[in-house]
């Protein structure tokens, strides 16, 4: 390993040489803090996002406890508003997005046959900024008198509609933290978005043409484009909100002629691509799992790719379907209704292709497959309720009711979260060398599926029975009691299934079955290398000759199209042991991304409380960036 990592020359001075040395080693906390290895960053993303998932989940349980029965008394209106705001914000920005980012990090370089991402230090920067933003956002809880039950968190919903977000209506600091937190998280997402586009376009192994790329890589590419084009819009909107709140500007102030609808347009201009930012990676994961567990290539690969790209483009033309009831006018409502109807088509194409992939396969009923099939089923339900939203006049009834809550949880939980869990079960062995227990995995799956449907299916009915969203209490006599109780029972079932998962992870890490390189008879390049992979991934950069390259190394086809195993001719081609990785220069670890990341929350705190802190933050940021720019990326 000596050749891979070099002892530091002390760009921070001799005093730091020891720290550098620790960072350069492969063990210990410093080696993680300074790491630029995409696999380690991916693991950090995943673990952090999972912790936030628990936060968001606990918030959800509070919501469900409060609504379990009419006139609930678990929390009051103020606490409820802050909790549901944080639940939504957390689940979108701190859970599903970073969990997807975890998979981008872990998988993209392996799937395209690269040693790392295009900008390894920027990748570390993305992670640290994400962590900083997540902590900053959650720190808002403490701006209230929390010991007396007064939470300081933002209280205007994850969508933060103006003018409720203006100082006049929400005086505390919660929303300042919210807006700044999202700005910080935006920096993280943008950096990751740029990085993965360049990585995917530029770092592919020889022969890995665009149309040989695994579907997950394609979906990462589309998602990254959506991120870099959607994030600037919300960035500006958040800046405008902060100017209004902190410096009395008038962007959303009706008294000065400002139009609160501008916020809604900007929020959803970002928000609707964002929905696809959340779901496309999940679609990518499922498109990897289904072929592997059916031992068949993905059915209609180019169509699945194009439908993903089409969804990416179309997601820019549907934002106002969140605003049908704001008085846009019949022409705009019709136009956005039709575009919303049409976006169902590429989504349907994907679903049919996944089904056709399974059809005629040899389906191995293991946990990753269960989660993926669960995804297809639940996402279909969410997609169909989405189609009912495009029937605009009917949506005048469903808008802002629990029907919508049901819809997007079918898409984001039944869709994204199930697929992400599937991805964890699928790729866990690649990064740990251990299999997660299949039995417990299936217990997890069935409990989660049951709990999920128990929680969210009744919400369709609640919405149609006229229960609006975001109310902290309701009285008897509306016919809502039974459905709410069911949903609460379901929510606790989900919570229990997550506990099962956590136990499974802990036990399997200690005593799990060894997986070997290729536990699932995989099709893509990551299964060709050892589990866990060496720091440099591939001792020799693979040459790619076909889609599903690794499968083709293992099998040829006879005249009828039936696969024939290649007689032991393909020895695990890349375990790297024979070479030991000598002569491979990997990027050096660096503390500067972390340093730069620390600048952001300081600037945020400073703008809210005291400019002196902001000045310190700015200095930290600039020092971090300069150190980063001047430090050589790879030492010779």
């Amino acid at each position: 390993m000596a050749a891979i990592t070099q002892p530091g020359r002390g760009t921070l001075g001799e005093a730091l040489a020891g720290v550098r040395k620790a960072a350069d080693s492969h063990y210990g906390i410093l080696s993680w803090i300074a790491t630029v290895d995409h696999k380690r960053i991916g693991i950090m993303y995943g673990v952090t996002a999972f912790v936030f998932f628990l936060f968001g989940g606990i918030e959800a349980l509070f919501i469900r406890l409060q609504l379990a029965v009419p006139n609930g008394g678990v929390v009051d209106a103020d606490q409820y508003n802050r909790i549901f705001t944080m639940h939504g914000t957390t689940m979108v920005f701190l859970v599903v997005m970073p969990l997807s980012a975890a998979f981008f990090n872990l998988m993209v370089p392996l799937l395209i046959g690269a040693r790392d991402v295009a900008f390894p230090r920027m990748n570390a920067f993305s992670f640290w900024v994400f962590l900083a933003g997540g902590l900053f956002l959650n720190a808002s809880f403490f701006t209230g008198d929390i010991l007396n039950g007064e939470l300081g968190a933002p209280d205007a919903g994850w969508f933060g509609y103006a003018p409720l977000t203006l100082k006049q209506f929400s005086p505390g600091h919660g929303l300042d933290f919210w807006a700044f937190g999202l700005l910080i998280l935006g920096v993280s997402s943008m950096a990751a978005g740029f990085n993965f586009i360049v990585t995917i376009l530029n770092m592919r192994a020889p022969g890995m043409t665009l149309f040989r790329m695994p579907l997950f890589v394609w979906m990462t590419l589309v998602t990254s484009f959506l991120i870099i084009f959607a994030m600037p819009v919300i960035t500006v909107a958040l800046f405008e909100l902060l100017f209004d709140r902190l410096f009395d500007a008038n962007f959303f102030n009706p008294a000065a002629g400002g139009n609160p609808l501008l916020w809604q347009h900007m929020f959803w201009l970002f928000g609707h691509p964002e929905v696809y930012i959340l779901i496309l990676p999940a679609m990518g994961i499922v498109s990897e799992i289904l072929p592997t567990f059916s031992r068949k290539p993905l059915f209609g690969y180019p169509f699945v790719v194009f439908s993903g790209v089409a969804i990416g483009f179309m997601s820019w033309g549907v934002w106002a379907h969140h605003m049908y009831t704001t008085g846009l006018g019949s022409v705009a409502n019709s136009a956005f209704g039709i575009s919303t109807i049409l976006i169902g088509v590429p989504t349907g194409v994907k679903i049919f292709n996944w089904m056709a992939t399974l059809w005629g396969g040899s389906i191995s009923l293991r946990t990753p497959l269960y989660f993926s099939v669960g995804f297809v089923g639940m996402f279909t339900i969410g997609g169909l309720s989405g189609v009912t939203h495009s029937i605009v006049p009917s949506d005048y009834q469903q808008q802002d009711t629990y029907y919508v809550v049901a819809h997007f949880h079918y898409v984001l939980f039944g869709g994204a979260i199930l697929a992400l869990f599937g991805g964890i079960y699928y790729w866990f062995p690649k990064f740990t060398g251990k299999l997660l227990s299949d039995g417990w995995g299936q217990v997890h799956f069935w409990l989660m599926l049951l709990g999920f449907n128990l929680t969210f299916f009744p919400m369709h009915i609640l919405g149609l029975l006229g229960m609006p969203r975001r109310i902290y209490t309701y009285s008897e006599g509306n016919g809502w009691d039974l459905w709410n109780l069911m949903a609460t029972v379901g929510a606790f079932t989900i919570a229990f299934s997550v506990l099962v998962f956590m136990v499974n992870v802990i036990v399997s890490l200690r005593r799990g079955k060894l997986s070997g390189n290729d536990p699932w008879d995989g099709r893509t390049l990551e299964w060709a290398i050892s589990s866990p992979p060496p720091a440099y991934n591939f001792a020799e950069i693979p040459r790619v000759h076909a889609r599903d390259e690794f499968w083709h190394q293992k099998y040829t086809e006879d005249e009828q199209g039936l696969p024939v195993p290649v007689a032991a001719a393909a020895p695990a081609p890349e375990d790297g042991e024979h070479e030991g990785g000598h002569g491979i220069h990997m990027p050096s670890p660096s503390f500067f991304p972390l340093l730069a990341a620390i600048g952001f929350p300081l600037i945020g705190l400073g703008v809210i409380y005291d400019y002196a802190i902001a000045a310190v933050g700015a200095v930290v940021l600039v020092v971090g960036l300069y150190g980063w720019a001047l430090e050589p990326a790879t030492e010779e």
Partner: protein, 198 residues
């Protein structure tokens, strides 16, 4: 050595184009949405202010024309700096880089002067919608110019220490792309905000 290039990735990329340059163009594409949002807010609110002062009361077209001209000419000097380093003429590049930075400083100073005049005339961020949208839009543009100046001066300092050689002309090219982008944003602002008034 082939391995090393695969990681740092400047020589052999799948598309044959440089990672950093691709990154810069993606960034600029994304910045279009950033400035698009700000400009849209300005256009939407341009004639909705309830109280004055209004754009026609304040805009000093001759003055702004000069500063627009200054920024435009800084683009010329920027591209001359790039042409110089690509020819290997470091001396000339230094001159043009420094000129560009000075023109940038001139532009930002002009903007600061304009802001103070407007402020004296009663326009503030909170005065009306015009103040809100104008200061935020041009302020963010000014911040971009300022960052550009810092980049140019950093490059200039690097070149004085002999660290900016012909092989590293890409650094100048990237700084140039950013600088030109900031310039074209001003071309748009100058036309839509200053010259076309309701």
């Amino acid at each position: 050595m082939e391995h090393a290039t695969a990681v740092t990735g400047n020589l052999e990329t799948s598309t044959g184009i440089d990672n950093k340059k691709l990154l810069m163009w993606l960034f600029l594409g994304s910045e279009c949405l950033f400035f698009g949002s700000l400009i849209a807010a300005y256009l939407l609110y341009r004639d909705r202010s309830i109280t004055g002062p209004y754009p026609s009361d304040l805009f000093d077209i001759p003055f702004t024309s000069v500063s627009a001209f200054v920024l435009l000419m800084s683009s010329v000097s920027m591209v001359l700096a790039l042409a110089a380093i690509q020819r290997g003429n470091i001396r000339s590049m230094q001159v043009w880089l420094f000129t560009t930075a000075i023109l940038g400083v001139l532009f930002v100073s002009g903007q600061a002067y304009e802001f103070t005049v407007f402020h004296r005339e009663g326009l503030s961020l909170s005065q009306n919608l015009f103040g809100t949208t104008f200061f935020v839009l041009t302020g963010f543009h000014g911040a971009h110019v300022t960052v550009g100046i810092l980049i140019l001066l950093s490059l200039f300092a690097m070149s004085l220490r002999g660290k900016l050689t012909q092989e590293k002309s890409l650094n100048v090219e990237l700084a140039g792309l950013y600088w030109h982008f900031v310039d074209i944003v001003w071309i748009v602002i100058f036309a839509l905000i200053y010259l076309i008034q309701p």
